[in-house]
Amino acid sequence: MGAFGVLSAVVRRDLLVALRRKSEVLTSLFFFVIVASLFPLGIGSEMDLLRKIAPGVLWVAALLAAMLSLNRLFANDYADGTLEQMALSPVPLGLLVTGKILAHWLVAGLPLVLIAPMLGLQYDLSSRALMVLVISLLLGTPLLSLIGAIGAALTLGVRGGGVLLSLLTLPLYIPALIFGAGAVEADISGLGAAGHLSLLAALLTLAVFFAPWATTAALKIALE
C-alpha cells in the first residue's frame, strides 16, 4: 500500500466512524448555526450594525464550533488502543496523523464552510462578501484543525484536558481569526481581500508542514 492508499484508508475509517456517530458530527454544526443566528435576533434589524459585526461574529462562531470537537480527535483512539497500534505501525505516524486531521476537517470544518453563506445572509452581506467569507473559511478551517490537533495531542490523557485544550489553542487561533475576519471586513469596506487571504494561505501552508510533525511528537510523549 502506498502512502496515498494509507492516507485514504485512515480518512475513510474516521469518516465511517463519524457517520455512525452522527450526534457528535452534528453538534459543532448546530452550535455554529445557533450562535450565528442568535446575534441578528438579539441585535434586531439594524442592518448597518449587523454588516459591521458579521465578519467577526461569524468567524468567532466558526472558530468555537471547530474547537468543540477537538478533544475527540485523538481521545477515542487513545482510549481503545488504536493510537498505540498507529505508533507501532511501520507507516510513519506523521502520515496517519495527517489523515486524521484531514478527516477531522472534513467532518468538523467543511460543513461550516458550506453553511456559512446561508448564515451570512442574516447579516445582510453582499454576495461578494459572502464569497470572501467562504474562501476565508475554506483556508481558515483547515488551519484551525491543524493547530487544534497540536493542542489535542498535547492534552491527551490529561485530567481536565478540555479546559486546558481551549486555553492552549485559542491564543494560537488568533492569527487565523484576525486574517479571516479581516478579509471579509476589508472586502466590505472596499479595500480588497486579497492581502488577508494570501496571509491566511501562507499560514495554512506553514501549518500543513509543521502541525502534523508537532502533533506526532506530542502523541509519542502521550503514549510513553
Partner: protein, 214 residues
C-alpha cells in the same frame, strides 16, 4: 508457508531497568530470544509485565539498558523494527462503530497492509467469526472482540509477536486455536513473547520463562 526468512534473527535485551513513578519495577533484566523460541513472561500483578512489553516494542523508553534486534539497537532501526514486531496490548484497538470486517481491514491498512474482503472474511472465519463479518463490534462479546483483535496475527508478516494477555476472555476452543497459531508461527521461524496468568502449552516449541519479582 514460508512467512519468515529462516536465518538467525535474534532479540537481545541487556540490563533493562524500568521505573514507574518513584518505584523501581525491575532492573538488570536481560534475555536472548532466537528464531523459533518464545518467552513466557510471568509475575504478580504490578510487577511490570506490561511495562516491559511496552519497552520491548519501543513505546516507552527503558530507564537503563539496551534492546537489540540482530545486534542493532531498536531505537536506531525505527520503522524497520516496527515492521518486524506485532504487538497486541490490553486494549483491542477496535472501533465499536465499525463491523468486524471493517475493523480488520482498517487495522491492516494502518499498518500499510491491504486486505481485500475475501481475505478478511477468510481470516474472520478462521478465528470463528464466520457469519458475523458485518455485525458491529459493539454487539460482539468480550471474547469475540478479543478474537477480532487476535485476527491481526493472521495477516501480520512480522516474525516477532509481543502479546499482552492474549488468552484473556477466550473460550477453550479459542485458546486451542491461539496455541496452534503460535505453534505454527514458531515452527516457521517466528518468535513470541507473551504474558498470561494461565498455563500456556505450545506444542513442540522452545520456551523460556521470565519471572518478574514484585
Amino acid at each position: 508457508m514460508q512467512r519468515h526468512r529462516l536465518y538467525a534473527t535474534m532479540l537481545t535485551a541487556t540490563d533493562i531497568a524500568c521505573v514507574r513513578g518513584d518505584r523501581r519495577l525491575f532492573s538488570g533484566l536481560g534475555f536472548t530470544l532466537e528464531a523459533g523460541a518464545w518467552i513466557y513472561l510471568t509475575g504478580e500483578n504490578g510487577s511490570g509485565k506490561t511495562s516491559l512489553l511496552r519497552i520491548l516494542v519501543g513505546l516507552s523508553p527503558a530507564e537503563a539498558g539496551e534492546i537489540r534486534w540482530d545486534g542493532v539497537a531498536i531505537g536506531r532501526l525505527g520503522d524497520e523494527y516496527r515492521r518486524v514486531v506485532t504487538y497486541l496490548g490490553h486494549h483491542n484497538a477496535l472501533k465499536e462503530e465499525l463491523t468486524a470486517r471493517e475493523n480488520l481491514s482498517s487495522g491492516a491498512a494502518l499498518a500499510g497492509v491491504n486486505l481485500d474482503i475475501a481475505r478478511a472474511d477468510a481470516i474472520l472465519a478462521e478465528v470463528g467469526l464466520a457469519g458475523r463479518e458485518e455485525l458491529s463490534v459493539r454487539f460482539l462479546s468480550q471474547g469475540q472482540k478479543r478474537r477480532v483483535a487476535l485476527a491481526r496475527l493472521l495477516w501480520s508478516e512480522s516474525p516477532l509477536w509481543i502479546l499482552d494477555e492474549p488468552f484473556v476472555a477466550l473460550d477453550a476452543a479459542a485458546v486451542l486455536w491461539l496455541a496452534g497459531t503460535l505453534a505454527n508461527h514458531l515452527a516457521a521461524g517466528g518468535m513470541a513473547i507473551l504474558t498470561s496468568h494461565q498455563e500456556v502449552l505450545i506444542a513442540g516449541s522452545i520456551m523460556q520463562t521470565l519471572r518478574l519479582a514484585a
